[in-house]
Each structure stands twice: as structure tokens, then as C-alpha cells.
Amino acid sequence: MWTRDQQAARAAKELQDGFYVNLGIGMPTLVANFIPEGVDVTLQSENGMLGMGPFPFAGEEDPDLINAGKQTITELDRTSYFSSTDSFAMIRGGHIDLSILGAMEVADNGDIANWMIPGKMVKGMGGAMDLVAGVKKIIVLMEHNAKDGSAKFKTACTLPLTGKGVVDMVISELAVLARPAKGAPFRLIELAPGIDLDMLKGRTEGHFEA
């Protein structure tokens, strides 16, 4: 079984040299810590920045410089700023290579739900619907099961969708499931150490090819 850091490191292996990448809030943010040697990626922040740098040193925070998680960040020698409209034109137009996002549920047809739970106060979808619809490749980084033990990779999402048929890869603490194209079935790519196929199947609801 992978730790959260190992899960993030596994996701980082999907980064290719020259990629433009958007990382979601939460666990996906950790991926930035594991970018492989020799792989140069440029991070996009959908509030209007390409080339996101690390957090600032204490005392150097700039309130005019935040990421989409509203965290203070820094710029790099490659950084450019632009409006929200230009930022989402970049996303919607398919110019971002990869987005790594969290999810509450993923279905085996690629549907994803990660923005609302009926009956609870809904905070809003922010840029998530735009990202899953526009970015070339969508990787979901999530725990394999919910707190009640139910599988999060399902035959169908029960929560309201963020996007339909959009997910390309799921990386949980147990395994990597992926498909070569939208519309294709998911397939088991890799098992975490100590996990075998039966264990995985026992904790999974959605269909995947072994």
C-alpha cells in the first residue's frame, strides 16, 4: 500500500518533459514535490498564472500573488500572468497537457464527481468542471475507499457529476487504473506493494481489465 507521498510520487511519474500541468487542491499539490530529475514541467494556476513557483519565504508573501487554492506563492523566470478569461481559454482550448485532481467518486466510464454532496452546503465547482472538460489528460488522485468503506471507483457515480467520461487514470493507495483513450475500458496498470488483484477487486466496485 502506498502512503500519500508515494501516491503523489507515482502520479509524478506521469509528468513528461515540457508538460504544462494544473494541480488541484489537496493531495495533488504534493505531486510538485516529486517531479522527476530531468523532467521540466510548468505549473498553471487557473486564477491567471503560468509558471508557478514554490511558497515564499516567511516575510516575503505578496497578497497579489496567490494560486487557485488562495495560497501565497512565488514567480519563476518563466512566469506569465493573464486574466481569468485567458486562463480558461488556455484550459478549455486543450493547451494544458495534464491535470491531477482529487475526487469523491470516479465511474468506470470515466465520469467524475468531486464538487457537491446533496443535502450539504455546496461551496461551488470553482474551475473543476472546466479543467476536466478541457485538459488533455485527467488523472485522479484519491483514496481507494470512502470512510464508510465503500468503493470510490464505481460502476456509476451516485453524486452529481463534475464531468462525463473525462478521467484517464486513477491513482489510489492500492493501484493505478488507466485507459488509453476516453471511451476505452480501464485496465490495471500497477499494484501497490503488498496488494494483490483479489484484494483490489474486493475493495473496488467499478469494472477494470486485469
Binding site: S45, E46, N47, G48, M49, P54, F55, P56, F57, A58, E60, E61, D62, P63, D64, L65, I66, N67, A68, G69, K70, Q71, T72, I73, E75, Y81, F82, S83, S84, T85, S87, F88, A89, I91, R92, D111, M121, V122, K123, G124, M125, G126, G127, A128, M129, D130, A133, G134, P160, L161, T162, G163, K164, G165
Partner: protein
Amino acid sequence: MANKLYPDAKAALDGLLFDGMTIMSGGFGLCGIPEKLIAALRDAGVKDLTVISNNAGVDGFGLGQLLETRQIAKMISSYVGENKEFERQYLAGELQLEFNPQGTLAERIRAGGAGIPGFYTKTGVGTLVAEGKEHKDFATASGTETYILETGLVADVSIVKAWKADPYGNLIFRKTSRNFNPMMATAGKVTVVEVEELVPAGTFDPDHIHTPGVFVQRLFVGRDYEKRIEQRTVRQREPA
């Protein structure tokens, strides 16, 4: 030249406000929000507002101030997670809320300013966002895909925060405080702008201007910007 300069937020909003009006307010989170104009709206007491803004401020700051005074009847936003008073009013049925995906919201505002009443997007297809909207198929490189129709947005007044302006109303924004501000400047019937610094005419390199003066009707310099930080994240210096 027609004078665009006003002494302060109150003067800049004078004669523009009426109950039930629609206001666009720039900013992402608390970054690049028109602090002074929001405070002036609160002081003016105008009510039943429809406010188009990506977020709703926090309790006691930004648009949170207009929620406390119950001046907002409806929000059009993409994310409102940072505000307890918002949640209370919404759950009590006192506040209407229309969620838009952030990119759809940004594009709707651009469209409104650009004379485009509607456009098609893939964002939200197959979700609650698509319900009741016209669907249309378009041929793309990867085959036929379904898109939904989204409409342009305009406002009676847009309130915008820029970094610097010249007397012609040309604007320059700073870093990620640009966000929704330039588009909202184009989509207000009247656009009122607050800046940190007014520079003499001719100071800007004309290749660097983000918002041309044609979009700016009124302008003033704000003092003592608070610029609150929502998530102060820092790293430690490596030991030498």
C-alpha cells in the same frame, strides 16, 4: 478630455446606484478585489443586489460586508466556500445562488463585454450545469462532440481594482490580482475603477496597457489597502 477622475469611492459611485441593480465585482478570493468600492456600496445602503463575482469574500471583508448588511439578494459565482454568513443566509433561503463553472463565468463576462450574446462550451456537459440549456453537436478533430449554450453577462455597474491608471483610464494590473478585473471592466454599462497609483499621461508603454481607457468611465485612487491574505503559506529557508 472628459474627466474620469473622482476623489474617492463614494464620489465615484454617486448617481449610479439603485436597488435591484446588477454589479460585477472583480477579484479572485480576496486577491484584486475592489476593497474601497465594496465598502462604499455598503455605506450607500443600496439593496436587492445581484452580484457577479467569482467568490463572495470572507466574513467581514470584501463582499462579506454586503452579506452582513443583507444588501445582496443573489450571487452568481463559482466558489463561495470561505464565508459562514453566506452559508447561513443561503441555507435559510434568504439568498439566491447561481453557480457557474469558473471558466464559463469568465467567458460569459468576456462575451457580455464583446457583444456576444451566446457561445458553446464543453464545460458542464452531462452535469447539473447543463440542465435546461440548449445542446448542440459540433464536428471536431476527434469526431462529433456535444456542447452547451452559455449566454453573455453584463452589469449595470462593474467595480474593478487595478494597480495603476493614467488619467485616460488606461489600466495596468499586478500579478494574479488581474484575474476577473479586465473582463469585468468591459462588461459594465458603467465601469468604476480603484487603483493604488495614478500616473501622469504618457507614463505607460502603450504595449503594456492591459485595459484601454475606453472601458473605464470613473476612476479614483484608494488609500491604505488592506489586501488580506487568505492562506498564508511559506517555506523555510534552507539552513546555511
